[in-house]
Symmetry: C2
Subunit: 173 residues, 2 copies
């Protein structure tokens, strides 16, 4: 049986391009009760992990990511496509279906002693989350967990992430 969170996810065929079944989580965000339930489920596995920062992936990872940081009393760090952050940054590349893309964070926001969760709304192939993880490690901070709302398990994104780091997806598709 589907949970009410699963039922609220809307599948949009052929978005953003033909052949993709896009998982739209905005109906959950728009419903106060579901939104709070989702945040609570994202938070629970990391409540006692002494998280200092949540890194949220541009831009759908900003939604639950910022609210999760607030709920964990942690800081929030946006990971963005290249050229959108105004200060000095560090960068990592990741593979796309054709070619590569870049991800960056500000270079002066994390360091040794920080305990970081990497969040995105959906994990697909895992490329961006793996790139975010490399960025965090380069600062000397520790990745203490991965947090996703939806895991498209057939794409095996989890296999791209470092072994031994806690992984949480609220919903598996």
């Amino acid at each position: 049986m589907l949970t009410r969170l699963e039922s609220a996810i809307r599948t949009i065929p052929d978005f953003p391009k033909p052949g993709v079944q896009f998982k739209d989580i905005t109906p959950i965000l728009a419903n106060p009760e579901l939104f709070l339930e989702a945040i609570e489920l994202l938070k629970t596995p990391y409540s006692s992990a002494d998280v200092t920062h949540v890194v949220g992936m541009e831009s759908r990872g900003f939604w639950f990511g910022a609210a999760l940081a607030e709920r964990l009393a942690a800081g929030f760090i946006p990971a963005r496509k290249l050229g959108k952050l105004p200060g000095p940054t560090i960068q990592e590349e990741y593979e796309l279906e054709y070619g590569t893309d870049g991800l960056e964070i500000h270079s002066d926001v994390l360091g040794p002693g920080n305990r970081v969760i990497i969040h995105d709304d959906v994990i697909a192939t895992g490329g961006t989350a793996a790139a975010a993880s490399r960025l965090v490690k380069r600062t000397g901070a520790e990745v203490v967990g991965f947090s996703f709302f939806v895991d498209l398990t057939f794409l095996k994104g989890k296999d791209k992430l470092p072994e031994g780091v806690p992984f949480r997806a609220v919903i598996e598709v």
Copy 2:
């Protein structure tokens, strides 16, 4: 005397283009104490306003916006540039320095009886916030407040917004 929130805002010259003094709020997000203080200040004027939804502007308005929605136990609705939302939308145009741009929200998330706050990190000329306000009104919902972290007062963005609707900016520059 500057408050510690004011002191934490970083001014980046010539970003994203020559002549612009960009107000970077990411140092506040990254600091758990300042992040929570900022959210609390954004929330306070609307604590008793029976807010049902926060509309956050792409994409820097997603950061405080989503956390503010969570803190108010309200839903969160992203207002995005055209073509980025997967479901059916309603759209409004707003003026840029040269030409116009578009803003949209999903058409099925708001309606009569909803009480909405419109949030962005910075209000400059007020064009996008005014467009968001028109979008909300078209759904039959009520705009019960505008919420910004920084008001660039010399650009007089407030004058573009509907009169009589509460307006809150945590910091005036």
